[in-house]
Amino acid sequence: MASKFSKETYLYWYELMLLIRQFELAAEEKYKMEGKIRGFFHAYVGQEAIAAGVMTATRQEDPFVTAYRDHGLALAKGMSPESCMAELYGKATGCAKGKGGSMHFFGKKEYFFGGHGIVGAQIGTGAGLAFAEKYKGTDNVSLTFFGDGAARQGILHEVFNMAMTWKLPAIFICENNNYAMGTSVTRTSNVHDIFKLADAYEMPADSVDGMSAEAVHDAISRAVKRAREGGGPTLLEIKTYRYKGHSISDPQKYRTKEEVEEYKQRDPIQLVLNTIQKNKYATKDEIAAIDKRVNDKVAAAVKFAEESPFPTEDEVLKDIVMTPDYPFIVD
């Protein structure tokens, strides 16, 4: 049976997802073993199919905004692994000059409006990005990513109401990985199907298999089409799973090892690789070449980060306001 998407699409998905995963595994190693990365670090491992599927269903100019679990989407948007790794190291060459860290990757050039640390806040930001696109008369759509935990913040309701009333070209993507830290989705509400929250505003919504890049692509494509044509927002609840703890320091007592293993059986990268192999889209050697290319990129990113300088101390009072010669209080 022929595959649903082209050979190129599958190979793109495979390479992107592998890059995200290897990037994070390497970074985690540097965090745990060498202490070169600090602060909160939230891995996307297990959720990569979302980044893959949204990329093939959108265009570069469509702005993205997400929470602190931001490495995957930043890389997907085309931010360089070097600048991302350097940011984790807090180096001046990082994507935010070493000022943001893991939770705050930004790439204006790539239309990546960042990683945000206050749960739910970016739901407003994302709708605002859409508002600006509509105001400017483009047909770009904004993609706003948030967790199942974030879906319980009040801002979601205020923003859904306005986005629907004003038909903003916004796609709200709830990456439901079943947990907000140690709290499973069923313990945070009477409503376990998050996509149903859209009903109160008569917003179109769907539940999507987040382990399948194909399913993500299809759902996003439908939503994007509607938004570009002026049909307004969509809520997509994408069911996914994080293999790692909430952050590096999470002992994960709230779930069983068996549960994690079960999800790994449907690993999104493996699923794409299976399709590639079954359809002979790449030979063994060609796959090995992709793997090597990814590993080389990650190794180069680590080397770049290690060799880059820290920001200079005068950066403390830089990038605070746009006004030149601003009178900071210095005692």
Binding site: G39, K99, G100, H104, V119, A180, T183, Y254
Partner: protein, 328 residues
Amino acid sequence: MARSIAFREALREAMSEEMRRDDRVFLMGEEVAEYNGAYKVSQGMLAEFGPKRVIDTPIAELGFAGIAVGAAQNGLRPIVEFMTWNFAVLALDQILNTASKMLAMSGGQIGCPIVFRGPNGSAGQLGAQHSTAFESYYANIPGIKVISPSNPYDAKGLMKAAIRDEDPVMFMESEVMYGDKGEVPEEEYIIEIGKADVKKQGSDVTIVSYNKMMKVALGAAAELEKEGVSAEVVDLRTIRPLDWHTILESVKKTNRLVIVEEQWPMCSVSSEIAYRIQKEAFDYLDAPIRRLTAADAPLHYAPNLVEAALPSVDKTVRLVKEVMYMKK
């Protein structure tokens, strides 16, 4: 009998003792029950008190703060844990516009006995959105009290006072202090809200601080001692009401004042202290009042920028030497 326990245990004991004593007291917040607390302050409390009184909330700070504020007006005594005070900003409406103003608006009929607590300030390389120190924000609000302790003993005594207080109390802790150990007696005790504490006697200069910056203040005092400078160190413990009398008495003795805090400089706690002391002790001062605050900027992530932006022992020693007119 005193034993050594961690800051988080001291807080837990205070809450648990008050919950045993008064069944109107309950704890709510994110991850406080089944996860035993994001920073393990409430470890074991669900097991002891059950889900009626140790309550996990969704991530909905404005909503659960509102529910707690309502419950406080209707006969209960809630303790609300914020995972950090950065997230309490979402609940500020309930704290400022409702809790702090209930008594005034109702002409004294309806009070709001409630404790909001959680870690505050920087905790290493957590980036701009997880590093704000909020004492000065809340200290600006009439109608509430603000406590910011520096050790397990004070934390326990003040937490018990906060829970028994009839007004809204903001209780500010620190991620990086939860593991700190200190002597805490087995017997019950309560520390009065609004009383500073002289943590080290001295005669040459007064250093005022609070919360984890007390470590910097005490560390600087120890360094200065080696160089023959005797610093008196005052721990504010409560920010509002501010115990400026204790500072005043100290300054009358030392004639010099340095304030060390983690607030941003504009309208900070040190601004208020400096005003009060120049007014009350103008004739006693032998040097301008000086302060160390966080840099006038969001806290960046890079390790060297974190260090550069925050007060340190070295910076404090240097500043004290300036007010002593000593060579550096």
